[in-house]
Amino acid sequence: MADTVQGIVGVAPVSPPGNRPKIQVVPLKGLPLAAAAVVFVVIAIAGNWQWALMFCHVAGGGLWTGLDLFVGLVLGPILGHLSIPARAEFSAKFMPKMVIIMPTVVMMTLASGFQIARKLGNLYVTSPNHSWLIASFCVVGVMAVIALGILEPANIAVLFEMNKPEPNGELIARLMKRFIYTAGITGLMQVATLIIMTRVATQ
C-alpha cells in the first residue's frame, strides 16, 4: 500500500530520479476541498435547497466552462508552440491541479443542474426548455467521453512518464498533442453549452 501511495501521489520519495522532484499526480492538499464540495452538493440535493443548488450550478458551471474555454482555446494553442521541455514543465505543475479541479466542478454542475431542471419543471416534455436540455445532455455526453476516455488518461500518462528516471520526450509530445486537440474540441463544445444555457435561462 505504501508503494501504491508513493507511486500515485508522490508522497515522500526517498530518492527521486536525478534532481527532478517527483510529481504528485493527485495533490493531496486539494482533496479536502473536493470532499467539501461533494458534501455541499449532497446537502443541497438532500435538502432541496434552491439557493445552494443554484450556487453549485452557476459557480461550478462558470468555472467548468471558463476553464475549458481558456485551456482549449488559449492555453492549448500556446502549449502547441512551446518546446517539449517547456510543455513538460508546465504540465508537471498544471495537470495535477486539473486532476482535482475538473471532476469536482463537473460533478457540482451536473448534479445540481439536473435537480434544478427537475424542480423548475424543465424536464417535462411540455416545457419549452425540454429540447434545449436534451441538447445540453448530448453536449455534456460528448464532452464526458472526450474528457474521461481520451484527455484524462493522456494527462495522467504524461505525469507518470515524467516521473520516470528517463522520460521519453517523443511519448510525452504524442500524449500532449492529444491533450491539445481534445482540449480544443471541449472548448468549442462549451460555446454550445453557453448558447444552450442562455436560451434556457431566457425562455
Binding site: 461533494v38 440535493i45 448534479a111 427537475r118 521519453n168
Partner: protein, 140 residues
Amino acid sequence: MSADTNPTTKSPIDRTFPPIAWMSTGALALVIIGGILMASYAPRKAPLGVATVLLVVAALLLASAGVLIGGLRDFPRKTFLKVFKWAIFADLVTAAMIEFAFVRDQTRGSSLLIVTGMLVIFTLCVPTTIAFTVARYADD
C-alpha cells in the same frame, strides 16, 4: 488468443496492443447515451428496452477489454492495478452522487436497476481506460 493480444517487445512507445482503451471508452460512450436516454424521460418512466440493450453491449465491451488485459503477456500489471485503484476511488464518488440524485428523485424498480448497472459500468470503464493508457507505457 494470446498470439493476438501479446505486445511485441519493442520500446514502450512502439509496442502494439489490442484496442483495449477504445473498447472501454466505447463502453463509456454507450452508458452515457443510455444515461441521456433515461434522463431525457425524467420524471416519466423511460422505455427500458433500448437502455437495456445499451447496458448489455457496454458490459460485453468492458468484459472483452478485461479478458484482453488478462491475456496480455509482459504487461505491467502492477502499474495497471495501482492506477486502477486510485481512479476507481474517484469515479465511485461521482457514481454514488448520480445514484443518490436518481434515488432522491424517486427513481425505483427496473429503471433504478438499469441506472445502477450503467453506473457500475461507468465506474469500471473510466479507471480501465486510464490505467491501461498509463500501464501500456510503463515498465514494472
